[in-house]
Symmetry: D2
């Protein structure tokens, strides 16, 4: 009934591992049965015990885990990868080669080269690879995508995305804050700072909802905080393969903002707006008419949801929807949103688009601001 999940990374003290576990549990379609929670054997064992994993499925090494699991009759149906970014490629390869489906936290890999190799491997093996681009799991994001697809706003003209945070407003990385330290260090995060960390979500949201493909970018990346080595503010102009254009403002130094991801789309027949911090609502305006506030669960909306209108669902539910859809795809079983799962779940191609976007932005900015193909 429930599928079996393994996990690599996410031991005691980690953040995103816990989020994946909540998301996997929420709809009751996954059971966590195996894990290599840390490269430190003691911490790996302790985490496994905490999580109720049987000792013979508590691994200290992901390579061993991939091999062992692939040989068990009750092997895991999928592995969740929640390690630091620079390990994503290696871990994913090991499991894909072992024929085990992968649910990988974003970004797909640390470098574009790795991402391209991984995408090829996914394509060659045919093993499911799912990238947890969380924001695509929000019901009203999916509703917006469906509305654009059926022509409610006509031809898309301009796409505006902003993703604003304030947690890097000061020299946080010099205060011992771990998250800040590795995210501003090129060794662990690659060449992109803010543009990679949140800019990728912005571009993913834009393309997911509009169905457009990015053609070129022109970027101005800045590290405003003195001494910071990676960008903390990104201004990007976008061109798509249609006539559509767009802008992204991604920043981690805007005081007063927490996780302010906001999308606005102007089409020739209507407009749409969505805000991650108020995610159950869409603003929709047909040209020449009044703004309509569309709420999740209202008459006329079709996106999957667990509770009626007015009962807020949030980030964890969006994340859980990705796990529910993954269960539907991997388990080939009926599920509430199973029918659409194949279209909606982000995969290796989406990860690759994100990595190419980051690389193009960095090139464009280094060259002083020139249009750069993606």
């Amino acid at each position: 009934m429930r599928l079996k999940l393994g996990m690599v990374g996410g031991g005691q003290g980690a953040f995103i591992g816990g989020v994946h576990r909540i998301a996997a549990r929420l709809d009751g379609r996954w059971e966590l049965v195996a894990g290599a929670f840390s490269s430190d054997p003691k911490r790996a064992a302790a985490s496994a015990a905490d999580l109720g994993i049987a000792p013979d499925r508590a691994y200290a090494d992901f390579t061993e885990m991939a091999l062992s699991e692939s040989r068990r009759p009750d092997k895991i149906d999928a592995v969740a990868i929640v390690t630091p970014n620079h390990l994503h490629a290696k871990v994913a390869s090991a499991f894909l080669k072992a024929g085990i489906a992968v649910i990988c936290d974003k970004p797909m890999t640390a470098t574009l080269g790795e991402a391209e190799e991984l995408a090829t491997l996914v394509s060659e093996t045919g093993v499911p690879f799912i990238l947890t681009q969380t924001y695509t799991g929000y019901p009203m994001v999916r509703e917006a995508r469906a509305m654009v697809a059926r022509g409610d706003i006509g031809q898309v003209r301009h796409v505006q995305v902003e993703y604003l945070q304030d947690w890097l407003s000061g020299p946080v990385e010099q205060t011992g804050q771990k998250q800040a330290a590795w995210r501003t260090d090129p060794k662990f995060s690659g060449e992109g700072g803010c543009i990679a960390d949140i800019g990728t979500h912005a571009v993913n949201l834009a393309t997911f909802v509009t169905g457009l493909r990015l053609q070129a970018v022109l970027a101005d990346l800045t590290a405003f905080e003195p001494g910071r080595r990676l960008d903390d503010n990104a201004a990007v102009l976008l061109r798509f393969t249609t006539e559509a254009k767009g802008m992204i403002w991604a920043s981690q130094i805007v005081p007063g903002t927490k996780n302010a991801l906001r999308l606005r789309i102007a089409g020739d027949r209507g407009g749409l707006a969505w805000d991650q911090e108020n995610p159950d609502m869409l603003e929709f305006t047909p040209v020449g008419e009044q703004i309509r506030l569309i709420r999740r669960g209202e008459a006329g909306t079709s996106a999957f949801a667990r509770t009626p209108a007015g009962h807020p669902e949030g980030y964890l539910e969006a994340f859980a929807t990705l796990y529910a859809d993954a269960a539907a795809r991997i388990g080939q079983k009926a599920a509430a949103s199973a029918v659409e799962a194949n279209d909606l779940l982000p995969g290796a191609e989406d990860g690759l688009v994100g990595m190419r976007f980051v690389a193009a932005c960095i090139r464009s900015s280094h060259s002083g601001g020139t249009w750069t193909p993606v």
Copy 2:
């Protein structure tokens, strides 16, 4: 590690049972292992199978379930009661007498008499009884309570609560909609309509956050929809045992509102406002100063939460917090919010207050609008 949960009610087709199961699963502290999901044996068995319950713990009868479970060495740690309201008292009694902790959906019972008996039983047996007054599980509701308790707004003067919905704006009960049918039928819902269904949440929120005790009410209950037998709109004046006063407007016929529960408190040193449909935010204004927007997870806030500021948490997370706290209390185990669990979890006394509130409002309204002690 995980506690064992049983469930009465909540079989195929039910709504609130599914919410309880998500809430129980979300933090991984409960495992559903037994249930009497329906009074219809076939549906009970089918639901149990769907939910992966072992056949010997799939019961067709809650009395039998209470007895059987109480004798097992691996008996359930608690039972969740999600039956129609008129069964709450009987089911709860059976399990309390069997020494099994109860997690009961609201309202506590169908009548005040039942509620009083049940409260006595809880007190006599000493078995944990938890009432899922969901809104007390919201982090910023708990933050508001803590702020009031430590004097941030001084002495409370006026408490304003509104709880507005629109789903009963027309004759929905005559269209075959089941929820509407039983909620507007005195046989299943008792004498209170809107006042019992959502007015109880309103008064619970007011007393939970302020710590005040209700002294008297003056109510004007109306059934606006032609032919409706129970009130669908309630206007209530409140007096507390201090000098504080208040008002409740609860209504299910306000077009454009979904689940609009909103609390505002005026104190002599400051004001507070909270809105269930935007639950991660508090508005706080010290007298003579500017409004401050306090967001869950921000520096200076202390309420338990699973994700950082800007990652919306909602109704299911609030519900899950009640289950997490229940696990902490029942399991006597360490938990994130364990320390506060005894103070914060709503119990039989809270249920009784709600039932007395409803009874007093009905008496007050029937008498043409007089102050009626609670």
Copy 3:
């Protein structure tokens, strides 16, 4: 072309007189040519000089002004009364008897007895009397009235009005603040505090928009601030002559609120909401449909306005609309909103309703909370 305006009260240091002068000037339909700006001759003369009034029309006494002006060939077309409340009745009588139209600041008079006499005088003389119930001048308030009248929300069921301020949150009247001193002193303000000062606006807004007539009230008035002699918080239940009901919460001790007058109406076919602090917008929801945000000046709206949608108009413009309509009525001249002027301008009857509302609330509250006819 322009009508000639006189003014009684509103000399140097006064507040509301300045507002009337701006309102009169804004649309260019009035010219201030005479005044008795103060009962102190020196201040009266100085104020007149400041305002460019010819010396022979700068009066020290309103009785003399009424007489003198009524005999001039170029006499004033109307007088604006902006004195303290207890003088309204006397001043208005003097000018009405002299055949000069009156534009009177609210409240109409200090006592209900005076209001009744004045209403009779207005009716007997047939001289125009306009009460500046400012909020009826807002375009979207008038739009809402028109929508209700044409049945957009069907039969009105519940009317909710709140009018919240925070400026009396502390013992301001003991600090030498003049406004606070006279408004909390029964000698100058009569028996009603908050209920008279802002409660009258609340009830006026409710009846203006819905077209309903008040039948009875049940009120709980409180003076929360220690030592205050008049109510600073009012909770009122309303019954109208139809089946409709309502509530008013008027308060001057809610920290964080400034001039928060808000109206919500639930009808059997739709709902409406309006907020004075965001006055260019109406929220309109037909039953079963999505919320629509209607903005002043948008296609489909008809209310008079000076600027296109998106160019905020506010309090002074609403006030000026009353003066423009007054010019249209008094001058019998064509004006943008002249056609509707007779229906929309508040007069003696409206003032009387307000005074009766206050008196009934005070009686109801003194009697411990009983339904009291208005």
Copy 4:
């Protein structure tokens, strides 16, 4: 007491002339006494009569008006220029040369060449020239400017401005709509469409509030509507002469937006946000603290205003403040905001910056998107 105002343009049927007249009247510091309201003598005379202008000061020609007025002992103190844009330069020159102060609607001129000549003339003659950049008259815009100047948000890092409208979403100019016709026609509007019409307001707001000077722009201008000859959407990257950067999104094809001018500033010690459609409010967040909502008229604010907090002031009041300040400067008389008038009133230099901004954006966009000095 009152200053004497003349007007060129703004006859019957015109829009912006009426706005200037309201603004001039609102605070009672100006009296309209002369005008050349139309180049058509009949319309000029009719408009003058409507407006109560004495026949000998109703001119059919602005050159004649400048001459005649300059010779009168009671000559006008200033002329308001509200003609179509391509006449601004000629009219302004005529009056400046006649020694009469000019209050000119924006944009300053139709071409950059004209603007430069005009700025030189202003500088040479020393006659006051005021450009009605309306948005600088909003109290909270001035408050924001003062806050930045005194270091409340530290060093400015990123400035984000958006100015969105929807009125050009379709082929409006082909439907006989006059405003749309001339604004999309290079003959009347010069080379810039949206970038000139509203982009100039955006950049003016950014520089006014921050005190920064623009160094270079990179623009992507688009005419999305088929057949339109001037841009209706502008994406612009900004660099200032400090380290600060910014973005402007100006568009007239975003369905659901009316006049959505919004400014956000990220500094190294705090952030600020302002929205023209909710103009009485500032959002201010010191780094590491909670958002504070600052309302016009609240304790701690200093910007000039006519009414207390909570009584909305809007576009016309902002416009009137420019006229009040102009009266203070031109009349050398005491006025509420007179002290700051010299700093705050936009003049020829500001107009020139706007024209240079437009020219640079057009060059940048034509060259395919390159950084272009301003």
